[in-house]
């Protein structure tokens, strides 16, 4: 436990400074950009008021990277983009260079490294996702594996720009959904109330905290074998898993009963329609490592129907707003069922309070 004499006094510096991390052409034209175009998939060209142009080459990464891989990215940056690079919120890496002739050289080298160049414009971009079995303490699955399996199947759509508008994906390993709202989201759905480990509970959980965490007041204190512990009213329980985060003895994860659900229509941008939350369109899909074929199959059905039927600039949610949910289910071949009718707070805001019907 004892450490040698400390020489360094902590500087609470906050975020790393960014000015040294900006390409000189970026620094010169900072805040003075005029327009951009996408000369081809994976490449952006930004032109400044000064007339300077900077090219961006964008490539997908596994997100779970290593120092070896990052050093290779640094090699590419040193060779072609004057030692500067950045990442997008979709885990893509970007190299910015004023030298047009470096663009194709860079593309070739990135592709040789196995990194797909793309992720621009009307494409299926990479997935924002959670940690899963690799590192999380409450996961029912491994997001990284699901994402890899999913991106293998939409590889061509990542590299091209043939969708009606961009498609953003997310994946989450529990119903908290740290992956976020997306055009299509893959989210774990627990289907059974938590099993309680009474032997451990009183030692590792603060009882009132777990009770307070339940959104439907289904958790009550009780005494079993002389030990204070908790019980769950299984009638009330909505299998959300909120208690598990506060109390690891409320075991919500189950190898068979933790399933997958697919959600669509989330949108963060304000362009055209207001930002929107997702709706559930498939559930009870098995958690089937290592390739989760049932999940990727549903994603494929949705993307195929959207690619076919969406009009230019329509995001998935906007496409569905136009054609209606009835046709969405018909064209994707998915099945609407009674569990897809909201039963939680504000449920009536999702009911059809009109005489509008689609046949």
């Amino acid at each position: 436990m004892s450490t040698p004499e400390k020489k360094w006094k902590t500087v609470e510096s906050g975020p790393h400074t960014y000015e040294d991390a900006l390409h000189p052409v970026v620094r010169k034209n900072y805040g003075k950009w005029k327009y951009h175009e996408i000369p081809k998939p994976g490449v952006l060209k930004h032109v400044a008021e000064s007339g300077d142009a900077i090219y961006t080459v964008r490539a997908g990464t596994p997100r779970q990277d290593t120092v070896d891989m990052l050093r290779r990215l640094c090699d590419v940056a040193d060779k072609y983009s004057d030692g500067y690079l950045r990442f997008t919120v979709r885990n893509n890496v970007e190299f910015l260079t004023p030298n047009k002739e470096n663009v194709d050289l860079m593309i070739r080298e990135l592709e040789e490294m196995g990194l797909p160049v793309g992720g621009t414009g009307m494409c299926v971009s990479s997935v924002s996702h959670t940690q899963g079995w690799l590192h999380c303490d409450i996961p029912a699955t491994d997001a990284s594996g699901v994402v890899k399996s999913m991106m293998d199947t939409v590889y061509a759509e990542f590299k091209d720009m043939q969708m009606p508008n961009k498609v953003r994906l997310s994946t989450s390993c529990c119903s908290i959904n740290c992956g976020g709202q997306a055009d299509i989201a893959v989210v774990v759905k627990h289907t059974r109330p938590p099993r309680i480990n009474h032997d451990h509970l009183s030692m590792i959980c603060e009882l009132p905290k777990a009770v307070a965490r339940c959104p439907v007041a289904a958790i009550r204190p009780t005494v079993i074998n002389g030990k204070r512990t908790l019980m769950v009213d299984e009638e009330k329980c909505i299998c959300c898993g909120a208690c598990f985060g506060a109390c690891p003895a409320m075991e919500i994860n189950h190898p068979e009963h933790s399933k997958f659900a697919i959600w669509v229509g989330g949108k963060n941008s304000n362009a055209r329609s207001k930002p929107s939350t997702m709706s559930i369109v498939a559930h009870n899909l098995p958690n089937n490592p290592p390739r989760w074929p049932e999940v990727t199959e549903v994603i494929g059905k949705i993307l195929t129907a959207y690619k076919e039927g969406g009009r230019p600039w329509e995001r998935i949610g906007e496409w569905i707003n136009r054609i209606g949910w009835k046709r969405f289910f018909e064209e994707t071949g998915l099945t609407f069922d009674e569990d897809m009718i909201d039963s939680y707070r504000h449920a009536r805001t999702t009911f059809n309070q009109s005489a509008h019907v689609r046949f």
């Binding site: 436990m1 004892s2 303490d137 409450i138 908290i176 740290c178 030692m203 590792i204 959980c205 603060e206 009882l207 009132p208 905290k209 985060g245 506060a246 109390c247 690891p248």
Partner: protein, 111 residues
């Protein structure tokens, strides 16, 4: 893992928290404090007693917010000064060190 207190072995988890909360005594606290490289002063003991009193009453450790508020009230400090005072006593944080020495359960979760 275990610590030795007055010739008796007391079980702790891999972070050094007591496995059985009823094992706590002031002597246990002193040994736990040595493990944290903390020299217990009257101010440390006051805080430990506050934590134990709170836990007895509510069966949860107080939120740090509650702790700093109590310190601020007691010593006529503002929130920032109370926070600095708290980390002055327990440099690795009240959750980690003060709760451990007071024999409270390990705080859980990151969400």
């Amino acid at each position: 893992m275990a610590i030795e207190v007055n010739g008796v072995s007391v079980e702790t988890d891999e972070n050094g928290y007591l496995v059985n909360l009823e094992d706590w005594t002031e002597d246990v606290a002193k040994i736990l404090a040595v493990g944290e490289e903390i020299e217990m002063t009257e101010e440390h003991w006051n805080l430990v007693k506050f934590l134990r009193g709170y836990y007895d009453e509510y069966q949860i450790a107080p939120a740090v917010k509650v702790l700093t508020k109590a310190i601020a009230n007691e010593n006529g400090m503002d929130k920032k000064a109370a926070s600095e005072f708290l980390y002055g006593l327990f440099p690795k944080g009240p959750g980690l060190q003060a709760c451990k020495i007071a024999g409270l359960p390990k705080p859980t979760g990151c969400v």
